[in-house]
């Protein structure tokens, strides 16, 4: 028979071996030789902490009681693992980019780095994990008890160890030491716990080997082959399929949910993950591990039921079957398998929960007590490590106390599923946070709170047994006799399995509260930013950045970072950042990128919420970056609007400038014209004045002049004086017309009369011009200044007489009556006006040639144009008529038209 002392010795040497492995792995990693320490195989094996002592021993017990139901606990994780591409890959990616340290950190970080959520999830985790740790202690002590009992029969038991309570204390203490040593060496979660991971990988192998060995022994050693074992199964009490459908589905769902949300699973699955690629291997390798682990469960149960005496604890079949058949070595291996299951789970669970407690409870409390800020005093690094160590001890102590208080009886057996149901309350907030940007902090807090409340009320508290937490009448009739609030039958729905009932209501109400809470609440900017980063983690290579308005002092940040990350690491970080910015030394610019990077680095040690708060204490307001971002966005919008206004104004200015330029050009032209006019007028005045002066001098001095000559010279003087007068008259006329001071003597006149008068008046100057009148309708009556109009006509006729160079000059005067106006064309049969001159003939002093300027001052057409403008009509040159042609357009007096 196996002596108890030998068992203790083997157990201790196994523990020593684990310590050695962990030390060796840590040393190796410290030297940078990580290599296969972080291989897909090790990752897969580390996931096996899912299989605790509860599953190692309990699966067989479960199978002995209810057949195949135990596989649901493995099928759930299998489904999650084979669906890694959609879910786990995203989770791991987020865990890496956001430097997530725990499940509480994930939830807190997703919902705007809210510490409230961090605390909620931490509390839930502590409530859920403590009984679970107690369960592990119980199974180890039970296993010890089996051996103690066994050896007691041969009288070699060691009294001190035979006391199961003491054993539990020893185990708890040993685990605490192991976790403290390997779990709190480094602070940064990203540095990972190589020692622990390698140790649990070794333990995973031990577990599998032990169970498979016992299974193989049972199938081939006892039953005698696979055919025999099938026959034994069919003959056993569990031969019939008695699993209820609702339990089957619920337990599969629950195990899948717990696989994702258990703090220890999150630790190995996400935090300790070194490479996304490892997931690809684990996606099939871990289900295969579970497959192998559960393959022999039913045979062991069946053989145990068949060969062991009535009343033997089926939970211990894995141990008792080999012992019964005298296979002490196999029993020892099996014991070590169970021991490994328990210890690896407790180590990682304690580590994960301690991280959560220190990051979400202790450090925030310490920060709020020290309002002065992280940079003022105190070593945060020491504080965090100490908090984590104390938390590990406290969690294990809690587990031990729970075990002592609960008495270690059958009440603990069901705690596995109860614990699963508890931590599964994080699932809606977690999945919602990963795939739905609309999930908010309020919704998540509501969901987790309500789900946890329902779970506590319907499953956790009743699990203590009747009269422990709830009285008999409370359980059977509901609080204050309200039937539909009975913990076992919410809303009056009876007949559900307690676990199914609790899971259904807690998860349903949880998800509903999360959804509705998210719909009605409005997220803060940081929540929306984090939501976008989480949901779109595959899309954004780099993250969205906030904009920090207050320039934090790089030195303050360095001081703080040194306290958390350690002096060397922070200096290296700051130096690398400074180099990246192209600066020398240790103090980079506190750019938003750097602040964010630093915050992530710190988050790897103390969690996102705390890191955010700590950096926030130095950089300014906690939410400053995003709030500022929003403000800046508003300002930008304003600036854009302003700039578009400016643009419009600038376009207007450009237009105005163009107009001004035009006006300026016109003014310059006018100035040139004025100068030209002045020089013209001086010239025009001087020519007659010169001849008048010369001839008058001749007359004054010329006594010898004959009367004939005298008369001739006098008439020249007279002519020139007349010309001068005409010129001055014309100028005066033009000035009056141009300045608009002319008074028009309006009266009704027949057009034909006006033309008649003009032809008569111009006759002396026509010099052989023939006038042909066409379309001369006497009925056309105008209301106009007849004298002025006649002046225009006279001028045109005189011009024709003066300039028409045809041998037989003719002038056709064509009158055409139009709608509201009448047109009078004066067309001669001369050479016409050259094209380039047509533009200038209406300007003052413009004459086609000076040589033929007999008596003309070049003002005639200019005056004509002014007159026509005053009369409301116009005069234009009409090209292409076979000679000089002018068109005079006149408005018709409507009233007089009928006359």
């Amino acid at each position: 028979m196996l002596s108890f002392n030998l068992l203790v010795a083997v157990c201790l040497s196994y523990v020593a071996f684990l310590f050695a492995v962990a030390f060796w792995a840590d040393r190796r990693a410290a030297r940078g030789q990580i290599g296969w320490l972080r291989s897909p195989l090790v990752y897969t094996l580390s996931l096996s902490i899912y299989c605790t002592a509860w599953t190692f021993y309990g699966a067989v017990g479960n199978a002995a009681r209810s057949g195949l139901e135990f596989v649901t606990i493995y099928l759930g994780p299998t489904l999650v693992m084979i669906g890694w591409w959609a879910l786990l890959r995203k989770l791991v990616r987020i865990g890496r980019t956001q430097r997530i340290t725990s499940i509480a950190d994930l939830i807190s970080s997703r919902y705007g780095k809210s510490n409230l959520l961090g605390v909620l999830v931490t509390v839930l985790a502590v409530i859920g994990v403590t009984p679970y740790i107690a369960l592990q202690l119980q199974s180890v002590t039970l296993a010890f008890a089996v051996f103690a009992e066994n050896s007691a029969t041969v009288g070699s038991g060691l009294p001190g160890f035979a006391d199961v309570k003491t054993t539990a204390l020893w185990v708890a203490g040993g685990l605490a030491v192991f976790t403290l040593i390997f779990g709190t060496r480094s602070l940064d979660a990203n540095e990972r716990h190589h020692g622990i991971v390698i140790a649990i990988a070794v333990e995973a192998v031990v577990k599998l080997v032990a169970l498979v060995a016992v299974g193989a022994f049972v199938v081939w050693g006892i039953a005698g082959g696979t055919g025999e074992i099938v026959r034994m199964i069919e003959a056993s009490p569990i031969a019939q399929w008695e699993v209820s459908g609702s339990r089957w589905i619920t337990l599969t769902f629950l195990s899948a949910a717990a696989f994702l949300t258990l703090p220890r699973m999150f630790q190995v699955l996400v935090v300790e993950n070194a490479h996304e690629r490892h997931l690809a291997t684990a996606s099939w390798a871990f289900p295969l591990y579970l497959f192998a682990l559960s393959l022999f469960v039913v045979p062991i149960a069946v053989v145990g039921l068949a060969t062991l005496p009535e009343g033997a604890n089926p939970d211990m079949f894995v141990l008792t079957v080999p012992l019964e058949h005298g296979r002490n070595g196999l029993a020892m291996l099996s014991f070590l398998g169970g021991f490994s299951s328990a210890t690896s789970m407790v180590i990682v669970a304690a580590l994960a929960v301690a991280t959560m407690v220190s990051n979400h409870v202790v450090v925030p409390l310490w920060l709020s007590v020290r309002a002065g800020g992280a940079s003022v005093s105190g070593d945060v690094r020491t504080l965090v490590l100490r908090a984590r160590r104390v938390s590990i001890g406290a969690v294990l102590l809690l587990g031990y106390l729970y075990y002592r208080v609960s008495g270690g009886g059958a009440a603990l057996a069901s705690i596995g599923l109860i614990s699963f149901a508890g931590v599964a309350q994080v699932l809606p907030a977690m999945l919602g946070g990963l795939f739905w940007r609309g999930g908010t902090r309020v919704g998540a807090a509501l969901g987790v709170t309500i789900g946890t409340g329902v779970w506590l009320y319907t499953l956790f508290l009743p699990s203590f047994g009747v009269n422990a937490a709830m009285s008999v009448s409370f359980l059977s009739e509901g609080p204050w006799g309200i039937g539909w609030l009975r913990p076992g039958a919410l809303f009056g729905i009876h007949g559900m399995d307690p676990v199914v009932h609790a899971v259904f209501w807690s998860i349903t109400l949880n998800a509903l509260a999360y959804f509705l809470g998210s719909l009605v609440s409005f997220p803060r900017p940081l929540e929306r930013l984090q939501g976008a980063e989480f949901v779109n983690v595959h899309r954004y290579g780099t993250s969205l950045r906030g904009w920090s308005a207050t320039a934090a002092e790089a030195e303050d940040l360095l001081i703080m970072a040194q306290r958390i990350l350690g002096a060397e690491e922070s200096q290296a970080l700051f130096q690398s950042e400074a180099r990246r910015q192209g600066k020398e030394g240790f103090l980079p610019d506190t750019s938003p990128e750097f602040i964010e990077r630093l915050e992530r680095e710190l988050a790897g040690s103390v969690g996102a919420a705390t890191a955010h708060a700590m950096v926030g204490q130095i950089t300014g307001d906690v939410a400053v970056s995003v709030e500022e971002l929003m403000r800046v966005a508003d300002e930008t919008a304003q600036i854009m609007e302003y700039s578009s206004q400016l643009e419009a104004k600038s376009a207007e200015l450009t237009r105005t400038a163009g107009q001004l330029r035009e006006a300026n050009t016109k003014l310059q032209q006018l100035s040139v014209q004025k100068d030209a006019f002045l020089s013209q007028i001086s010239h025009e005045l001087r020519t007659p004045m010169t001849s008048i002066r010369s001839f008058s001098e001749i007359l004054r001095d010329g006594d010898t002049l004959g009367p004939e000559e005298r008369t001739k010279f006098s008439s020249v003087i007279h002519d020139e004086a007349q010309r001068l007068t005409r010129l001055l008259d014309g100028l005066l006329d033009l000035t009056v017309l141009e300045s608009g001071r002319v008074t028009l003597n309006l009266q009704e006149m027949r057009l034909s009369d006006v033309i008649e008068r003009a032809v008569d008046a111009a006759r002396p100057r026509m010099s052989g011009l023939t006038i042909l009148r066409e379309g001369d309708d006497p009925k056309i009556v105008l209301r106009t200044d007849a004298d002025r109009l006649a002046q225009v006509f006279i001028n045109l006729i005189a011009n024709a007489g003066k300039y028409c160079d045809a041998p037989d000059p003719q002038l056709r005067v064509k009158v055409r009556n139009g709608a509201g106006h009448v047109r009078v064309d004066f067309v001669d049969n001369g050479a016409g006006v050259p094209r380039q001159a047509q533009n200038v003939i209406f300007e003052k002093f413009s004459r086609l040639s000076d040589t033929r300027a007999a008596g003309g001052a070049g003002l005639g057409l200019a005056i004509c144009r002014e007159i026509m403008a005053r009369l409301g009509g116009s005069i234009v040159y009409l090209p292409g008529q076979g000679g000089a042609a002018f068109r005079v357009t006149l408005p018709v007096a409507q009233a007089a038209d009928a006359a």
């Binding site: 057949g67 195949l68 596989v71 099928l75 299998t78 489904l79 999650v80 693992m81 084979i82 669906g83 890694w84 591409w85 959609a86 890959r89 995203k90 990616r93 099938v230 199964i233 069919e234 056993s236 569990i238 031969a239 019939q240 399929w241 008695e242 699993v243 209820s244 459908g245 609702s246 089957w248 589905i249 599969t252 490479h275 996304e276 690629r277 997931l279 690809a280 291997t281 996606s283 099939w284 289900p287 295969l288 497959f291 393959l295 039913v298 795939f435 739905w436 940007r437 976008a532 949901v535 779109n536 595959h538 899309r539 290579g541």
Partner: protein
Amino acid sequence: MSGTREPVLLERESYRRRRVRDAARFLPFLGVVLVFFPALWTPEAAAEEAAGTAQLAFYVFSVWFALIAMAVILSRQLMRTSPPETGADGGPEAG
């Protein structure tokens, strides 16, 4: 958000890659259906048909193994066509 226009038709290689990803997303749903299927077997029917624990175990372990085999194939394919670290992801995520 995606400013880049994607071509209507993909090359054969990237088309295949996308279908592998679809399969990877689909596999857990197939698993759920297969795993939940025994829940539909009522105890009475099981008793009549003599569908005992042995048969159920045979079914469950067969399905389990098949799922693992499919996961092996898919993870190989996924690793070969799109290394996850490059972040080359197919269609837009839910959002």
